[in-house]
Amino acid sequence: MINCERVQESISRLLDGELSPPQSASLQEHLSSCPQCSESRRQLEKIQSTLKEVLNAQASELEFTPFWRGIQDKINRQRVWYQDYLDWGRSVFSVQRVAWGVPVVIILVLGLLSIDFLLPDWRFGNSRNSFVSVDSIDTHGHNVALLREDETKTTVIWLYQDREGDNETADETVTTGPAF
């Protein structure tokens, strides 16, 4: 014997198509023999169809053009001067592309960092063939100048005093070999 109170819950699920075929068949059988539950189902269907019609009628009044214009206005108000660049960047640097780009960049950086180890004789042009430094070593105008030349592995150190009218070079020391 099906309990009519419990059936009310099932009617709701029946209307929504959420009952299994056996449950649905069992409920239909009860509805055909129970005027009270059958009436309840009719009322729920009426509520559902009326609400749909009311809302449909309201929505059918909605015109696309002014509706879309309102959205466009909001979009345009929000767009800042760099938005076009952001859009371009978003399309170029999509997630899929960045996903490939990140390991490629990491490999390139690691390659550059290890190039000294892999190719010890290779250098970027002449910039790393020599090293020059000039420093003041006290307050009496004594200076030290250092030159390191990688090609011939020569290091030159000058010690000189910075006095007007005197010879600039006070001492000169030359060492050869991998001093550093």
């Binding site: 009310q8 709701s12 929504d16 609400l51 019609e53 009311v54 809302l55 696309f64 978003r90």
Partner: protein, 184 residues
């Protein structure tokens, strides 16, 4: 051949505005209906519907296609409508007045889409009864009625379980039935 929602979303993500316009065209009425079902006032519903699409436009870059586009869009719409309803300070009769105005205007131009609806009282009281439901109960009724969404889809939109959707629907229908029994 008509593009799928997902194809249009991908075009939007690449910056194609016309693709977004097409999505708005497809869903404007349904989104408006959902929001109107939750709010009392037609003008408010219109504003919130436009705001929903504007937010969707801003967030579409983060949409990954894990759920269907309309589920995602309805989630935005429902959240915005519930927020708007909580902020709403207007007269509760606004929506009824607005609705009556529309019905009268339709009668005047002899293109009443409600010609097959016999009982005007039922419509008026239905709107009133719907407005007396909580936003959560209103949301399940509206989503189920308008789009015929399955419990699973409604649960995804509202962020609750299917069991909760089922019990809310049952409760909401019971309340409407009690209040409208005299007009049914």
């Amino acid at each position: 051949m008509e593009s799928t929602d997902w194809e249009l979303v991908q075009q939007c993500q690449a910056g194609t505005m016309s693709a977004f316009q097409e999505l708005v065209s497809r869903y404007q009425q349904k989104v408006f209906m959902v929001i109107l079902g939750l709010l009392r006032n037609r003008e408010d519903a219109l504003e919130v519907a436009q705001e929903t699409f504007f937010r969707a436009y801003r967030k579409i870059g983060s949409f990954q296609g894990g759920s269907s586009f309309y589920t995602w869009l309805y989630r935005i719409a429902v959240n915005m409508a519930i927020d708007a309803q909580r902020r709403q300070k207007r007269n509760p009769l606004d929506f009824r007045e607005s609705m009556d105005g529309v019905l009268e205007a339709q009668n005047e131009v002899a293109r009443d889409p409600f010609a097959d609806i016999q009982d005007k009282e039922l419509r008026e009281n239905l709107v009133k009864a719907i407005n007396e439901l909580t936003p959560e109960h209103k949301a399940v009724i509206v989503l189920r009625t308008i789009e015929g969404l399955a419990y699973k889809e409604i649960s995804e939109i509202l962020g609750c379980s299917e069991g909760t959707v089922m019990s809310r629907l049952h409760y909401a229908r019971k309340k409407l039935q009690e209040k409208l029994r005299a007009f049914l």
